[in-house]
Symmetry: C2
Subunit: 453 residues, 2 copies
């Protein structure tokens, strides 16, 4: 029986523990978790703020008891502080402040990420919020309940910014968004971002682009926020979401090389280069299967995948992480925007010469009621004809997210534009067309003479 | 400029004409269509009966004018009666009964299918209906309007039977279904069929299984229907949907070998074995890419694909039909049932040794409102570990049909159970889970020790 120690009780750590148990039931993993909320759905926090989730406890993927019933030992309120790789010991401070030492045969690090605190003067003023953990959400929720803000400024128009904009509108606040780039949802091409900006406008949300926020100052009960381009706004509260940074503050004896944005360097087996130690999830780098290089991509879906692989390998398996495509979907009010692969800029910055088609049609035969428009952008590499990216915007409930997954699956298999029509996709008038919209979009791109084959 | 003649103005014929024009704009195809409703969505007819489609004219994929604007000549009310393959002429009877002769360089046959008239005594009585073409639907709709039937018996619980059951319930009729097999939706495994039977029961529809209807006799204004197992029911009207048969009555000089169910034998280029003649759609056989043999599979999505390939090849191209997986989805009241690949029986009858997992979960994180249960059955081949089929039942609007398409795409690429987890599928709490339900189902199957790898 191996001694498997896991640092971090969020997506990657729990996935590793569960998979290790499945792979070798003789293993009884120990998880060291500094907080008291193991296996919580970080992605669900905005829906707690919106009150669509009525009790924050429902946000747990699994309860403490469910995890322990699987034969996993949870040390909550325990903080790992040091790994001695020579003697294979982890130093842990328990909830009484007592130092304990855990021996490991195999170790998985899944310490996650922390929100970036932007370099804004006065960022620590009361009324300025980040959202990463359960206590952050409870604090934010309390503030709204007690202070009853009428409006909020959101700094950062990425996907958490968008989800929080919707959540706060649902709580009755008037929302303004300020964003550093020229559009919203900067992981999408600006033309699609502008369509989301229209959706925001329909929900009475103003967006200010190309602005770097520089200072936040109290003004009576309010906050005055200033930025470049003479930006100045007074708000009852400020929510900030400008990305995350890997949580790799753990002291590892014998040293450890860190990679992009300070994330742990890993190989495809999720090994970090020190015997018997794996890292997975938001604290680690991610292999991008299209760019053929490591990137930093802190997404819950990837944390689950990498954790599963680290767990299987720690338990004696031999699995490799196949890589990520940056697949992502976000609900913004009544719309969903989803992407996979590379957008045009990423493709150009990478190793590709991209060509795209924009295509708009109905999600299903328009003669059947409730058809809504889908906007599909599909990108291929001119030379190889391979599909390298897709972006879809459409209505919630109209199969936007699983349509992007058809592209994700196709890109995984290096499918070409020419052969994408060969897929035998499902059709019934209330749900699609004889050619699914994804195939119609590809047919449009196929006609582009810039495609070499 | 080639003389391209196309027989049949439905899905296959129109697709062939459109693709030929795209491929070589110098071609001006002529389509011979015996009816007056070119390019109508046959799959949409039940939604005309339900009155969800308010005008039958909306059922046209394209109007006559739109087709002609693409540079395609339509001869409506013209019936092709003979092909002289030696002199390359098609004999056509025009709408005045006049015989005309059309020369062709290339010929595409897309004559479709016709409803099977079951061998039931008294099937020709008034009040007994089939549904294949626009005039059938108008007749049925008129009957309901004028005779105001209170109830209907549906013979055949396939997908058109199910769609019609829903349509007639929406028109206020009490519906009974009688079916020859042990379940409903016989292209699905019986366990999933039974779940659809539950949905029918929730909508006050009784189903009688294992019965062969033998006779229909008038009884005053009603019909008395009798079958095996002492089945006897009195109904105001009867709707029959027991499948279709290829429409291959065209006289082809020099003879022509027909295949399964009398469909035209074709190769992957959709050639029929006589120079310069192609067949596509419901009149032709279909290559099944899993069974590695020809089958008869009259589906609109396949007709579009085969028509496109026939059209491209007739225009000088060189495309092959990649094969079908029998992908299909159907809305039944508030549910959707979808399949791709092989069900267990088909797999056993084929060249596989199947093993399946049944898995039930929520379509998205249950903490976000409106989550609904998905039932996923996934089937793999024990020896190779390859996925060979999937069936999903879930609520309408919960991405059932495009989830089946993820499987369809995976099966196309001969994906294994083991590597299916490598797909980077999209996740956001209102639409999925960190592992999409399709991956969770496959993870369950992965644990089955019967899988060899």
């Amino acid at each position: 029986m191996k001694n498997l120690v896991i640092i971090g009780g969020s997506d990657a750590g729990i996935s590793a523990a569960l998979r290790a148990r499945e792979y070798d039931p003789s293993i009884k993993p120990i998880i060291i978790e500094s907080g008291n909320f193991p296996n919580f759905s970080i992605c669900g926090l905005p829906y707690y703020i919106s009150h669509e989730v009525t009790n924050w406890k429902n946000l747990a993927h699994r309860t403490k008891e469910e995890i322990e019933d699987k034969g996993i030992r949870l040390l909550l309120g325990h903080r790992a502080t040091m790994i001695d790789t020579a003697s294979k010991k982890v130093t842990v401070t328990d909830h009484h402040g007592q130092m304990i030492f855990l021996d490991y045969d195999k170790l998985v690090i899944g310490t996650g990420a922390i929100s970036i605190k932007p370099a804004i003067l006065g960022f620590d003023n009361p009324g300025v919020f980040l959202l990463r953990w359960v206590p952050d959400s409870i604090a934010l929720d309390d503030f709204i309940d007690k202070r009853k803000p009428k409006n909020a400024l959101i700094i950062g128009a990425g996907y958490i910014g968008m989800e929080m904009a919707e959540a706060l509108v649902k709580r009755g606040l008037k929302i303004t968004v300020v964003e550093f780039t020229e559009s919203v949802m900067p992981t999408f091409d600006p033309d699609l971002g502008m369509m989301i900006k229209d959706t925001l406008a329909q929900n009475n949300i103003s967006v200010y682009n190309n602005i770097a926020v520089e200072s936040i100052n109290p003004l009576d009960d309010k906050l005055i926020v200033r930025g470049t381009n003479n930006f100045e706004i007074v708000a009852d509260m400020v929510f900030t979401s400008v990305g995350v940074t890997p949580n790799t503050s753990l002291d590892v004896l014998s040293g450890l090389e860190k990679g992009i944005k300070g994330a742990y360097k890993v190989n495809k087996k999720m090994e970090i280069g020190i015997p018997d130690i794996y890292a997975a999830g938001d604290c680690a780098e991610t292999w991008h299967s299209l760019l053929k290089k490591y990137v930093y991509m802190p997404l819950g879906s990837i944390a689950h995948k990498q954790g599963r692989i680290a767990g299987e390998n720690a338990a004696g398996g031999n699995r490799e992480f196949a890589g990520s495509l940056g697949t992502q979907s976000v609900k913004v009010f009544d719309k969903v925007i989803a992407r996979t692969g590379l957008n045009e800029k990423e493709a150009k910055d990478g190793i590709f010469d991209p060509v795209s088609a924009d295509f708009e049609t109905w999600d299903h035969k328009v003669y059947f009621p409730t058809a809504r428009k889908l906007h599909i952008k599909v990108t291929a590499d001119k030379m190889s004809g391979k599909i390298i990216g897709a972006q879809i915007l459409g209505a919630y409930g109209k199969e936007v997210s699983k349509r992007i997954d058809i592209f994700a699956t196709a890109i995984f298999h290096e499918m070409t534009i020419r052969n994408f029509n060969d897929y035998d996709l499902s059709y019934t008038p209330p749900l699609s067309s004889p050619w699914d919209p994804v195939q119609m979009a590809v047919q449009k791109l196929e006609k582009n003479p810039l495609l070499k084959k």
